[in-house]
């Protein structure tokens, strides 16, 4: 299949991936310093998935995310400064400091929310896809979920409902090999999550999640199918996380040099840069320029978040209901 990406698109894809990487590496550092409260689950290493998926989507399309949601937010276009402030629990945050890392949502960009509940997103995506179907403008909805959520009943129910209702939905299983500390080799009894698609009467495919182009192409097929009205697909993206399940996880369940090897040999940004230069004539200089811009953006985001005000005491009681 022809890649539907222009040079500008590729640079944009790189920018999104690089932004996610910088964002997460920086959150890792700032969390260790004690500046960030609560539970934080980092997406670094998995950038090709978020970018490969979301480069196929437009603003009207919806995504639902997971506890490991920063990458999905950035790839879908959520404001990075608002996100950083949210992670710091500040009033200027995307959710005014009332959601935090696990609940960043931005309905204006079609980001229906990170989710603290494993398997919480797929049912919601069925609804987003149903709404798109009623609107009749070719919109689609994407559920990101992990290998852990691939074992949740909500996910199975949603796959079945999406197929029964022939919804324009795409289920993206990001299999990073671990549900918290438990290996997918044990917990995903069928091996590849994508094989489960057969049981729900939809196409399923497993792709290398370290390869932006592989993810992009698989998603392109799935999105086109959904937009045509032919129903849902399951795309399994196999990848590795650079950090632990949460910040503070010593990762002793992983092999001694596992993360080191992943960083050295499976870095999706390195792979992207190589192919972009060899096949699409994108220069190192162009990417470096983006790197600098991204670094500046993240610096500014952290500085602004640190300086931003806490929510006001009266915020405790607001926005429980629209009207009560």
């Amino acid at each position: 299949m022809a890649l539907a990406l222009s040079r500008e698109d590729l640079l944009e894809a790189y920018r999104r991936m690089k932004t996610i990487r910088e964002f997460e590496e920086r959150v890792h550092v700032e969390f260790a310093k004690g500046g960030i409260p609560g539970f934080v689950h980092l997406y670094a290493g998995e950038e090709a998935s978020a970018a490969g998926v979301c480069m196929n989507l437009n603003d009207d399309d919806k995504i639902a995310s997971t506890h490991r949601g920063h990458g999905h937010c950035i790839a879908k276009g959520v404001d990075v400064k608002g996100m950083m402030a949210e992670i710091y629990g500040k009033r200027t945050g995307t959710c005014h400091g009332k959601g935090g890392s696990m609940h960043i949502a931005d309905l204006d960009t079609g980001m229906l929310g990170a989710n603290g509940i494993v398997g919480g997103g797929p049912p919601l995506v069925c609804g987003a896809a149903l709404a798109a179907k009623f609107k009749g403008k070719g919109g689609v909805a994407v559920a990101f979920f992990g290998d852990g959520a691939s074992n949740q009943g909500t996910t199975f129910e949603s796959l079945n409902l999406a197929a029964a209702w022939k919804l324009p939905a795409i289920f993206v299983a990001e299999n990073n090999g671990y549900a918290e500390a438990t290996g997918a080799k044990f917990s995903v009894a069928c091996g590849d999550v994508s094989t489960r698609a057969v049981g729900f009467g939809m196409p399923g495919i497993t792709v290398d999640g370290h390869d932006f182009f592989a993810v992009y192409e698989a998603m392109q097929t799935a999105v086109q199918r959904a937009r045509r009205g032919d129903g849902p697909s399951l795309v399994e993206v196999k990848l590795d996380r650079f950090f632990g399940h949460f910040e503070g996880d010593n990762q002793s369940y992983r092999a001694p040099d596992e993360v080191k090897n992943v960083r050295a040999n499976k870095d999706c940004l390195k792979r992207f840069s190589e192919r972009a230069s060899q096949q699409y004539n994108i220069s190192a200089q162009e990417l470096t320029t983006i790197d600098h811009e991204v670094a500046k953006l993240i610096d500014e985001a952290v500085a602004a978040a640190v300086a931003a005000p806490e929510p006001a005491p009266e915020d405790l009681l607001t926005d429980v209901y629209i009207k009560y």
Partner: protein, 336 residues
């Protein structure tokens, strides 16, 4: 005034009128059409008790049968609500909340707050409550206190056809998630209902019967039980004021407190189990805010703290009866 129709017809009419008025109103649930994918006729059931019968013929694919997958379709209703639709989703029995609760209390209820006031989730979950059908422990409960406990949800419990129609139309137009509880023993109850569309605001209790000696607060089917008890008590000169809160979230404290200020005596009748239930909640509220009004200890008439039994003889003992309400009122009235 109006013609008389049943509680069930009132709900059907509310759905019909709102679907006609607003194209974003859609219905989904198990057998709400009844017949999808089967070899016989469509709209064969129109809901397990026929409450949505006839709507498929008028609105076609806006009313959808679902697989028996409560998490998926309740979640889908919620997701569609965040994307501009106004879904009315049927959870056949409230007892089934266990297979979909996460979508309701962790997702729908919290979006508005967690997302900093940016989400709008105008979903209605209609669900059957109540004992009396020999339907046993998993199809007879009154679990609305569980929903009432959750900030972000609104909980509506009508006790008459008139209230059912007005409150359901309000629920559909409301922008927050609403749990709409329909007592299955009330479906055949007839009452005067205007043909035209109307709404009843949430958080406004109804004084069902005026009286001066004892205040009775009751919900759903217990309102009728309380009325029977009050009619008997009136013969003995005991005047009961009956208040139906109609919604447990939001909750009208004022009407109850005003009544208790008048009567000085309070009996709460609730079909939910007693621990952490509405009776306990209302009792605590009045003890705290109306302590000086009280001339007698508050009486609570509830089922025992047991599951709902199957055998008719036991179920009849389980459900608060007019006789038990009468006894509680007498005890309260006689306390000096």
């Amino acid at each position: 005034m109006a013609r008389k129709i049943s509680f069930q017809q009132a709900i059907n009419e509310a759905l019909d009128q709102e679907m006609a008025r607003d194209p974003t109103v859609i219905l989904m649930g198990e057998d709400v059409v009844g017949g999808t994918g089967s070899d016989g006729e469509m709209d064969a059931w129109g809901g397990v008790l026929g409450v949505t019968k006839g709507l498929y013929g008028k609105y076609g694919n806006r009313i959808m049968d679902t697989p028996i997958s409560e998490s998926a379709f309740v979640g889908a209703a919620i997701g569609a609500a965040t994307c501009g639709m106004r879904p009315v989703c049927e959870l056949m029995f409230i007892d089934f909340l266990g297979v979909c609760f996460d979508q309701i209390y962790n997702q729908a209820a919290k979006f508005r707050y967690m997302f900093g006031g940016k989400a709008r989730t105008p979903v209605v979950i209609r669900t059957m409550i109540g004992a009396g059908f020999r339907a046993a422990a998993q199809h007879s409960q009154c679990l609305y206190p569980i929903f009432t406990h959750i900030p972000g949800l609104k909980v509506v419990i009508p006790s008459s056809p008139y209230d059912a129609k007005g409150l359901l139309i309000q629920a559909i137009r409301d922008d927050d998630p609403v749990i709409f509880c329909e007592h299955k023993a009330l479906y055949t109850m007839e009452g005067e209902v205007p043909e035209e569309s109307y709404t009843i605001p949430f958080g406004e209790a109804k004084v069902v019967r005026e009286g001066s000696d004892v205040t009775i607060v009751a919900l759903a089917r217990m309102v009728n039980m309380a009325q029977k008890a009050a009619a008997n008590l009136a013969k003995d000169g005991i005047s009961c004021e009956i208040i139906d809160p109609r919604t447990t979230s939001p909750f009208d404290e004022e009407t109850i407190l005003e009544s208790v200020e008048n009567t000085g005596r309070l009996v709460i009748v609730d079909e939910a189990t007693p621990r952490c239930g509405m009776a306990a909640d209302i009792s605590a509220m009045v003890a705290q805010k109306g302590f000086n009004f009280l001339n007698a200890p508050i009486e609570m008439v509830t089922p025992p703290h047991t599951p709902v039994p199957f055998a008719g003889s036991l179920e009849d003992l389980y459900i608060p009866s007019p006789a038990r309400i009468e006894a509680a009122v007498r005890k309260c009235a006689e306390y000096a």
